[in-house]
Symmetry: C2
Subunit: 676 residues, 2 copies
């Protein structure tokens, strides 16, 4: 039942292979003048390859190749090196793969600076090792209070750390509030009420200091200060209590049943080869960026490209809290790495048993390539509701319809407490949907007086902190080529005179269409009224004379975005817009950056700048940036885990006069019968 | 795996049985003074039982009985009689069932009028018979133009009618624009360009007249006028052309495959007995009102009632058009009868093969009880995405999660062109979802100059008319009893001084909660900013001290509601509000009425009146009225049928501090494992 064939051309979008990672790493290690450490967990003071990832081909090159007009684009790697010895960061392009490699420093070209500041980098495993060494020393110094308060016993019952971000309040800061949690599975909802502020800006960890301590809501200027006051009895003490682990995900009852299971009675109707999926009329390439996560390219229906790129860009959360560990917290997950945390999917839970599972490989924050077994799944699913149906008993009796079987490609990324489920769904009616749902553990803090202004209590002494979720998708639709326009459609009530009764007027719905000509006007902010239908359209028309288009239908329950006056806002300015349309540029590949989290106040990518030049979007290659999200006010039912029901968002790309009729009429699943 | 048991108490909400319909009908027929016709299709001039349906028990009586405090409430029928001979309508209550029946005229009590005006009634089959007799006469008179223009051949190739509503512009009007369509399956998208205005106010059909004619965009004062001008050659003629039936739902290709199928490996985990479903921790009663459609009552989780009533109330559409057949059209489906058109569900398309199917019975617009075989289905479905899951490789390695298997109860109602799919979904996390999706045929009109202001061309000469869909649900949550409050929660960015750095301020999210005290303030209009979280709450608290509540999360893409200044608006005033909360009253059972369609200008139910008395909603029995919808700008892909993807809306009722933790932790579907 596959109507389209596989092609190896998808490989230009394929993640680097283990061999490619290794050859790039070995090549970089061989550059003696760069003095790169070979350690798995290099110290911040060493030079270290943080990341090797595919450098996406330039779009024009890729299109030439895909459309048979040009050669295969060069295959290159993007390499990020943290120069601890020099105190700066650099990025390289290394290629061509396979073969004799060369490297090119692209820092200047990409960032208009010869080097990037050292504090812009994410915290590496090497730096965490040193942070944990420091906290161990701290714990040794205050073992008694920790034992009395939290049952801390060295090497037997620990306290687990959870960091707030950003790490300070201004450029150059690297001061992290670490909150401590019980040493339980699901630690994230077991805060103990102890937080410390570590100043770890120096690349030499012996310079690091504990600048502030919070214990049971009370602040102390240092560990010594806390220790002295604790011993002097001038501290309101927390008394350790053993509690059962309410965060445990262990079933309380013996599993007694099994829910409905899906089978492919006639085998799979899709095929996965290399990084390409074909399914009935659909085909697309896929990949998993270590930083930004799942992405698909060159989505075609009946061989005709509809989307060049559909990709996750960023996942952001802004928290409210009375206590410092979460008070300023604004997570930008792509700086930690979203795709990097795409772990093995569990059959029968994460995806159906009969899904096709794909391994992914990554090179990030260590010295070897790591495999994530079965970290992408592809399956066809009965969505549980007919795609279309009509029953008639007037005049002509009959029934026509079809089940809604669709193809889903999924990854799930678990970044610390939260698990995001990423789905791209391909429908037989020509629609593509990008969806994200949140599950896993909420973040929490120890409840003190006044905490309830920032959330609800969800367990003994535990506050579930109010927060927002914002997710950004890049949607590079190419409708019959790259030259497209941005159209809006909506209704308005219009007063008309009734033609058969001119004395009478009535207000009736009327279609209102606009073409939007420039980027600023096409940036649809979340708090404004936007037209209900948003279209990327070609100037070519369908059989009925209408511009062929795809409509973007956004599902979102977003909370308020951080006020633009806040100094951190520019690092997440994409979240201002429900939909923003820009003119495509290879150098505007992403709405966020690896450095956005730790250099929030002067980010290297400020999405709003893509719009600021207000380019024309009339007959240009257009990219839609779609933000979805939801406000999360945690409640008791978030314990132990947030459920996916109602906690998601997404965008459906729907054909709108793209075809001459619904393409599902040609589906092998269509059924028709009439009586007798 | 059923955790709760069946109870016969659900029967108080059961639809009337065939025996009950018959005994009520026979009783009414036996009332000689009422002079009721026994004909299946009585003429408008005769007296006729239009409807027999269950009279719902008074809520207080029902609760007393359900909760073991009182006797079984009386079982009674609601009977609607059209008195053609007298020229008015009346409603009766007939009971008690079973046994010696009595009838009581409730018109005055219900409507503050001894009788209802005759023009308020829906058009019966008897009236349609006379309308078609009239159109046949008209056709005979203009056979030649109809043949030349539309290929009309008496008894061989007809023209099929489609009515516009309302039937006029003011109270008392009964003048219907009828548009004609090709005699094809899927006629709704085959307009021919011929429309006539029939004045059929009199109960004597010999008084009826054709008041206006539209042919190819040109108006004529009468059939004679049209005929004369057509023959005189002063009409721009349409020339008949045979065309293939692009509206056909017959598959173009031989069905070649079969999509994924679901099985219950260990049998069904739910049970349907009488009108009750039990599923794991859930139980509820269900019924199908001939007018308003699907409804469930007494929804309980672990035996605790959460919802007293969750029901469809109304489905409304407002159209825009240049031509009169659809120019004023505002459909109110409950006046035609939603549940009445719940036909047999098709296994494998409408619901899975292995669903449990239930028959329904109705007595409406004829003289016998009709059975709708398999018109309700109940099934468990794997929703295709985990309900919850968490993977951890930090500190504690492990995986816990569960598939999202949920129970769905569904009807599909096909009212002429459109098919609405009605789902109530019960999740193991304690959420209930009410969802509606639209499919079937769009309404269309013959394209003339200027038509494109009201939609898109979707086929040769066919305009798909712009329109709105609005659906109203009644959600009578009872959280730990009937005395509840209405709470809103949202976020606001609040500026705080950083406690550890008092020189610095930051804006952080803060929780904002309100209790809304009266009905007017609780009426959340669609075009205003409303709080993001809406809760029906008890004053009882959960283990953590928070008021136990359910949250209403509304999914909607509604277009603009008809301006309140329009004379028809009061008949659909429920659509002003995304959510409105009223104090429960038995006499405010529904937001709409059987008479709303044909008496739009002075409706017997104007929902906004429920709010106008602005009662207190503090510690009262609260009812939430939820409106969802979408703007539909038809496009080529609506041919032949609108697909369900993206064309729906609904509301999720989510526990929010109702429990002390997520109840799905006790599900038999939970899985946990840790390495080694
Ligand atoms: Ca630009
Ligand atoms: Ca594009
Ligand atoms: Ca009231
Ligand atoms: Ca209630
Ligand atoms: Cu959250
Ligand atoms: Cu529609």
């Amino acid at each position: 039942s596959l109507k389209v064939k596989h092609s190896d051309k998808s490989l230009i979008f394929a993640d680097l292979s283990p061999e490619e990672y290794k050859s790039v790493r070995d090549y970089m290690w061989a550059q003696k003048d760069l003095h790169i450490s070979h350690a798995a967990t290099a110290k911040p003071s060493e030079n270290f390859i943080f990341l090797i990832d595919l450098l996406l081909p330039k779009k024009e090159d890729a299109l030439s190749y895909l459309d048979g007009r040009g050669a295969k684009p060069p295959r290159e790697a993007s390499v990020v090196v943290f120069y601890g010895a020099q105190g700066y960061l650099k990025e390289y392009v290394v290629g061509l793969l396979p073969g004799q490699l060369k490297h090119r420093d692209v820092t200047q070209e990409k960032y208009k600076a010869a080097t990037l500041p050292f504090t812009a980098r994410p915290v590496t495993t090497g730096e965490y090792v040193q942070l944990f060494t420091l906290t161990d020393q701290v714990f040794k110094n205050i073992e008694k209070p920790l034992r009395e308060s939290f049952g801390y016993i060295p090497k037997k019952r620990g306290l687990l750390p959870y960091e707030g971000m950003p790490r300070g309040v201004q450029v150059g800061d690297r001061k992290t509030w670490i909150s401590f949690f019980r040493d339980y599975s699901g630690m994230y909802i077991h805060p103990v009420g102890f937080e410390i502020l570590i100043h770890h800006q120096s690349s030499n960890s012996s310079d690091w200091t504990v600048d502030r301590v919070l214990y049971n809501g009370q602040y102390f200027d240092s560990i010594e200060d806390f220790k002295n006051k604790y011993e002097a009895g001038s501290v309101k003490k927390i008394v350790f209590k053993e509690i059962p682990n309410f965060a445990s995900l262990k079933p309380r009852n013996k599993p007694s049943g099994i829910g409905p299971q899906q089978y492919y009675l006639q085998g799979k109707r899709f095929s996965v080869r290399n990084n390409e999926v074909v399914y009935l009329n659909w085909s697309f390439a896929f990949g998993l960026s270590s930083l930004t996560g799942m992405r698909v390219f060159d989505i075609r229906f009946k061989g005709e490209r509809i989307v060049y790129e559909l990709s996750v860009q960023e996942a952001m959360s802004v928290y409210g809290s009375l206590t410092p560990g979460m008070m300023l917290t604004k997570f930008l997950d792509s700086s930690i790495g979203i795709g990097r945390f795409a772990h093995e999917l569990v059959r029968g839970i994460d995806c159906p048993h009969h899904a096709t599972y794909v391994d992914t490989y990554r090179y990030i924050d260590t010295n070897v390539t790591l495999r994530s077994r079965n970290s992408i799944c592809v399956f066809e699913h009965d969505m549980g509701r007919p795609l279309r149906r009509h029953f008639s008993d007037f005049f002509h009796n009959g029934f026509g319809g079809m089940a809604n079987s669709a193809l889903i490609i999924r990854t799930i990324t678990a970044i610390g407490n939260y698990d995001y489920i990423w789905d791209f769904i391909f429908y037989q009616s020509g629609s593509v949907e990008a969806k994200v749902h949140a599950t896993g553990y909420i973040s929490s803090s120890y409840k003190i007086d006044g905490s309830l202004e920032y959330g609800h209590q969800v367990a003994e002494n535990v506050l579930g902190n109010i927060h927002t979720h914002f997710i950004n998708f890049k949607v590079d639709l190419d409708i019959l080529g790259v030259k497209n326009v941005f159209q809006t459609k909506d209704m308005v009530f219009n007063e008309v005179i009734l033609p058969w009764m001119p004395s009478r007027k009535a207000k009736i719905p009327k279609l209102v269409e606009h073409q939007i000509m420039n980027e600023k006007e096409a940036a649809m902010k979340y708090n404004t009224k936007t037209p209900r239908y948003l279209h990327i359209a070609s100037n070519s028309t369908n059989r009925w004379g209408h511009q062929r288009s795809y409509r973007l239908q956004v599902f979102s329950f977003a909370g308020d975005h951080l006020p633009e006056t806040e100094p951190e806002e520019k690092s997440m300015s994409w979240a201002r817009y429900k939909v923003a349309i820009t003119k495509h540029k290879d150098e505007e590949q992403s709405s966020s950056s690896l450095y956005s989290q730790n250099y929030m106040w002067a980010p290297y990518v400020d999405f709003s700048k893509y719009i600021e030049d207000n380019e024309t979007i009339n007959n240009e290659d257009l990219v839609a940036w779609v933000t979805v999200g939801f406000l999360h006010i945690p409640h008791a039912e978030d314990i132990p885990n947030t459920v996916t029901v109602g906690n998601g968002g997404g965008v459906i790309l729907r054909p709108h006069n793209y075809f001459d009729e619904d393409p599902s009429i040609n589906s092998p699943d269509g059924i028709y019968f009439s009586p007798g």
